[in-house]
């Protein structure tokens, strides 16, 4: 009986133990499962963190490298961030962070822009600003950050100075073209009117007028031709026909053709080069045009009795043609602009017997660069000028070339 009394609790104990073992086993498995899930989640979080850190680093490097200035101000117009471009543009350093924008970038218009965007109706706006005392045109765009309660403004500042300069160049070009076209037209018109009135009665004078009219028309035709040429080259519509040519021969032939004109102008022209062929890949007709324009230009600024010397040499991977004159020379400050269309150092400098169109050097520059070369000038006032152009040299065997007679017109 006492045994039975004992057996009860023991059995209950055993049952309890078994239950405990079973449940703890289940707990254990659950814990394992949970642990696995936690681990998976941790992995996801880690990956997500890594991904967002990656995106963040991409953004950072874009902002860091951007050539446009980027500024961030808080809701009190205080500077909170400036990218390196902004630091350069506005001479900022880390000590400026936290200061009011107007204090670090002294520009009333920019300050007012930020205020309008912070407190006004429009969430974004852009304006043009011209910093005092500097020849700069900037475009500042500002955008509000945050929803109903603005948290700040992001400002992007671009430099439009170059664009404005180009626009001015374009306007100047149009003005120049119309001036250059109108001048000969006015002369022709005046002469025709004189002839119509009573000029025909005086035959010798009338003939001289007709010759003058003819000359003006020739000049106009050349100008129109040059303009069209230039526009074709500039817009890339010019089809070059590059061949392998002996540059030395092309240059010599061109110079030969120009000898009579030089003699007429009272100038001595010479052409010097090595005995060897200088092989380049270039359009022969256009190469002739380049040499002709350079010699023309030299003739224009060299008084009678002067010399024009053309030389060809080859070094490394470049062939170089130089046209040196003993003329008036070009002031240093004008040299960078000499290849611009219609650029004239001084209207009175050119010889009166050869006015030119003002486009020759611009055409040279574009043709040479289309053929992969470069142009340049060295000059000092009163000591003549030396214009040169280069073309890439072809390293080839003469046998592989086409017969020169066929390609050089």
């Amino acid at each position: 009986m006492t045994l039975w009394l004992w057996l009860g609790p023991i059995a209950a104990g055993i049952v309890l133990l078994v239950l405990l073992a079973v449940t703890s086993g289940r707990h254990y498995r659950q814990r394992l499962r949970l642990q696995r899930q936690v681990h998976l989640l941790q992995q996801h979080v880690h990956q997500a963190n890594e991904a967002s850190a990656f995106v963040e680093s991409i953004n950072q490097s874009f902002i860091h490298q951007a050539p446009t200035a980027m500024l961030l101000v808080d809701e009190n117009s205080k500077l909170t961030f400036a990218n390196p471009a902004a630091e350069r543009r506005f001479h900022l350093s880390p000590v400026h962070i936290g200061l009011p924008l107007i204090q670090v970038v002294r520009d009333h218009d920019l300050d007012q822009l930020v205020r309008r965007v912070l407190h006004g109706l429009a969430p974004a706006e852009a304006i043009e600003i011209r910093p005092p005392g500097q020849d700069l045109v900037l475009r500042a765009s500002a955008q509000r950050i945050g929803g109903q309660a603005p948290r700040g403004v992001a400002i992007v500042v671009e430099d439009l100075t170059e664009l404005h300069r180009l626009e001015a160049v374009r306007r100047e070009f149009v003005a120049n073209v119309s001036h250059e076209l109108r001048t000969p037209l006015a002369t022709v018109k005046a002469m025709v009117e004189t002839l119509q009135l009573d000029g025909l009665a005086d035959i010798p004078h009338a003939l001289r007028y007709l010759a003058d009219i003819n000359r003006e028309i020739d000049h106009l035709a050349t100008l129109v031709h040059d303009l069209l040429d230039l526009s074709r080259i500039e817009s890339g519509r010019l089809e070059l026909q590059p061949r392998w040519i002996d540059l030395r021969r092309v240059v010599e032939e061109t110079v030969d053709k120009l000898v009579p004109r030089c003699r007429e102008a009272g100038l001595a022209i010479s052409c010097g080069s090595s005995a060897e062929a200088v092989l380049v890949l270039a359009d022969p007709t256009r190469t002739q045009q380049i040499v002709q324009n350079l010699v023309d230009n030299a003739m224009k600024f060299t008084p009678p009795g002067g010399t024009v010397a053309v030389s060809i040499d080859a070094a490394d991977s470049q062939a170089r043609v130089t046209v040196r004159d003993s003329g008036v020379g070009i002031p240093e400050e004008d040299q960078p602009r000499i290849f611009e269309r219609f650029y004239k150092v001084d209207k009175g400098r050119a010889r009166q017997d050869n006015p030119g169109t003002g486009l020759g050097l611009a055409i040279v520059k574009h043709l040479v660069s289309a053929m992969g070369g470069e142009v340049g000038v060295q000059s000092s006032l009163g000591r003549g000028s030396s214009f040169f152009f280069t073309l890439p040299l072809v390293r080839g065997r003469i046998e592989t070339l086409e017969p020169l007679e066929e390609v050089v017109a």
Partner: protein, 221 residues
């Protein structure tokens, strides 16, 4: 308004003044540029820009009065708000002088230039630099820098008298130049007055920082 919002308001007031000062500095530059280039359109555009300076002056005045009414500012705060009120007024008057130069440019446009402008642009450059440094002294609360600027006004006065003498000689030699010379004289006078106003602002900065209303020696004549 609790204390920290008052501090915020004072700081905003300071930013407003700085923004207005920078605008006035630019107005002076644009006005003298238009005069130099004899550019009537630019002069008219700049003259119209004075409305913005006037607007800011009223805005600052309103803020100051509101602060007086609601905050009972004491000691240094009181001096700051009071100075802001006066500085805004001085800046506004300087804007008017710039506008005056623009109007003179428009008047002179029809007449041939009397002489190349050398001393007038120089006066303008000096006045602008004085204003710029004065605003910096205001931001930095630098009474010593303000006192230096206050004494510099002499340079402008000397230039003004030089211009006066030169223009008088033109008028005596050739009465036909009297109108043009008088206009130029007014331009120089406006610039000289701008210099005086900068001195006044410098005085206010000294007062704001130190509480001293009068500076040791008599102000430059």
């Amino acid at each position: 308004m609790i204390r920290h919002t008052f501090v915020d308001a004072l700081e905003r007031l300071q930013q407003d003044l700085l923004s207005m000062g920078v605008a006035v500095e630019k107005q002076i530059e644009l006005a003298v540029d238009a005069l130099k280039q004899r550019d009537v359109a630019a002069a008219e555009r700049t003259a119209a820009g004075d409305a913005e300076v006037d607007r800011m002056r009223y805005e600052i005045e309103e803020v100051c009065i509101e602060l007086f009414a609601t905050q009972n500012p004491m000691a240094s705060d009181l001096r700051t708000v009071a100075s802001a009120l006066i500085i805004a007024n001085e800046l506004e008057r300087m804007g008017d002088y710039a506008e005056g130069i623009c109007k003179l440019t428009v008047k002179m446009a029809g007449e041939p230039p009397l002489k190349p402008l050398i001393d007038i642009p120089r006066m303008s450059t000096i006045a602008q630099a004085m204003l710029r440094r004065c605003l910096q002294a205001f931001v930095d609360r630098d009474a010593a820098a303000a006192e230096v600027i206050w004494r510099e006004d002499d340079t402008l006065d000397e230039l003004y008298h030089q211009i006066l003498r030169e223009l008088l000689s033109f008028m005596i030699e050739e009465p036909g130049t009297i109108t043009r010379a008088t206009y130029l004289l007014w331009v120089a006078h406006n610039l000289e007055r701008i210099g005086d106003r900068v001195s006044n602002i410098a005085e206010r900065v000294i007062y704001m920082v130190t509480g001293r209303l009068r500076i040791g020696s008599a102000p430059p004549s």
